[in-house]
Symmetry: C2
Subunit: 190 residues, 2 copies
DNA sequence: AAAAAACATTGACCTGGATCAAAAAATCAC
DNA sequence: GTGATTTTTTGATCCAGGTCAATGTTTTTT
């Protein structure tokens, strides 16, 4: 099956698995399809699912007390992710997850995810790698926020993630870059 | 020995160890004392050490192309840390580590750190917990940067980490909060 | 304890990006 | 396909926090 093959391929980039471990892991994932704009996790809910995106695009974001959306992370196929803070702590999430396009994902429950971590050492390494990457990603984001202008952040995104710029609306891109939609529009015309 | 007892106490807050494991771990750490302003890691060096701060205060920071310091993290006793991105990847660090006060630390080499992770499951869990915490911390920092004003970030720091505000110079605090020293000075007088 | 260096404060001024408002263009729903 | 909703663009204005410069104050060095 197409989606599960893609999953196998991706997780093997992070850690080394036996065939039977891959079978075991694969069986924990269930296919789900979400229509555009579906909310997979609302704020105040506890995040109990980890996603592999096989087709489409999800994002995590939160809403400020002034009512503005701030996008933390955009997941475009093939990739993985979830509302990590809540997934880890099992406290209510301040983040939302929603689908920016119709998306086909493979989902694993937190219970299964952690069971795998206890029972398959390579899966614990996989988890560790994910955390390392997530950390580095956030670190990089802070670096961009504190050293680059709005325009430079936009140019960096075009350079490093042109697919996202092509497929995602300016409204969402702006919220990802932490600038206003109006500003982004002006940046592009300059 | 005082410092090593403090180390034992701290790591047991993250994971559960046997006595003999603790002995083993403890033996990997060497005591070092750094004078104020000592640079423990310069940018472009590869970070090969992880620190437990038993007394004093270290920080990680980087320098922008305009020559401004940006402080990422302040470690005040008792705590742990290092220039994580380089420590993980073993690529040259863009971050520096230096001592904000005369500090007594226990240091473990990356080689020993990873050997322990392979040989003591509880240490791998410890590492995972650290990564989870580091991730959450960075996430929180981004949230503060994108939702709070300079004044609100300063007030949050006073609220959540008053010790740091007392012991660290305004120059460093400002670079931690991503504001200018002059602005911080004005905030305080308002 | 004096000189030097680093740090903190205060003032005047400037600017990148936000805000508010309204029109134009694209997308969606039936 | 057409009306409704959402997104994008453009204009006018504002302001938090930066910059530059000068003066105090504290810390370090000798």
């Amino acid at each position: 099956m197409e989606a599960k093959d893609n999953l196998r391929q991706l997780i093997q980039m992070f850690s080394t698995f036996e065939e039977n471990e891959l079978d075991r892991i694969e069986n924990c994932f269930k296919t789900r399809i979400f229509k555009k704009n579906t909310v997979l996790l609302a704020s105040d809910e506890v995040c109990k699912t980890f996603y592999f995106i096989n087709r489409g695009c999800l994002r995590t974001y939160f809403i400020t007390k002034e009512g503005h959306e701030k996008t933390r992370y955009i997941m475009m196929e093939p990739s993985i992710g979830t509302a990590l803070t809540s997934f880890i702590s099992q406290r209510p999430s301040f983040e939302f997850i929603d689908a920016l396009e119709e998306s086909e994902v493979l989902a694993i429950s937190r219970t299964d995810f952690y069971r795998l971590a206890d029972e398959i050492p390579a899966w614990k390494n996989f988890y560790l790698k994910i955390m390392e990457m997530a950390y580095s990603f956030q670190n990089r984001k802070i670096e961009s926020l504190v050293t680059l202008s709005a325009k430079e952040r936009y140019e960096q995104l075009i350079r490093e993630n042109p697919k996202v710029v092509q497929r995602v609306s300016n409204k969402i891109l702006a919220s990802y870059l932490d600038i206003k939609q109006e500003t982004l529009s002006r940046l592009k015309s300059r």
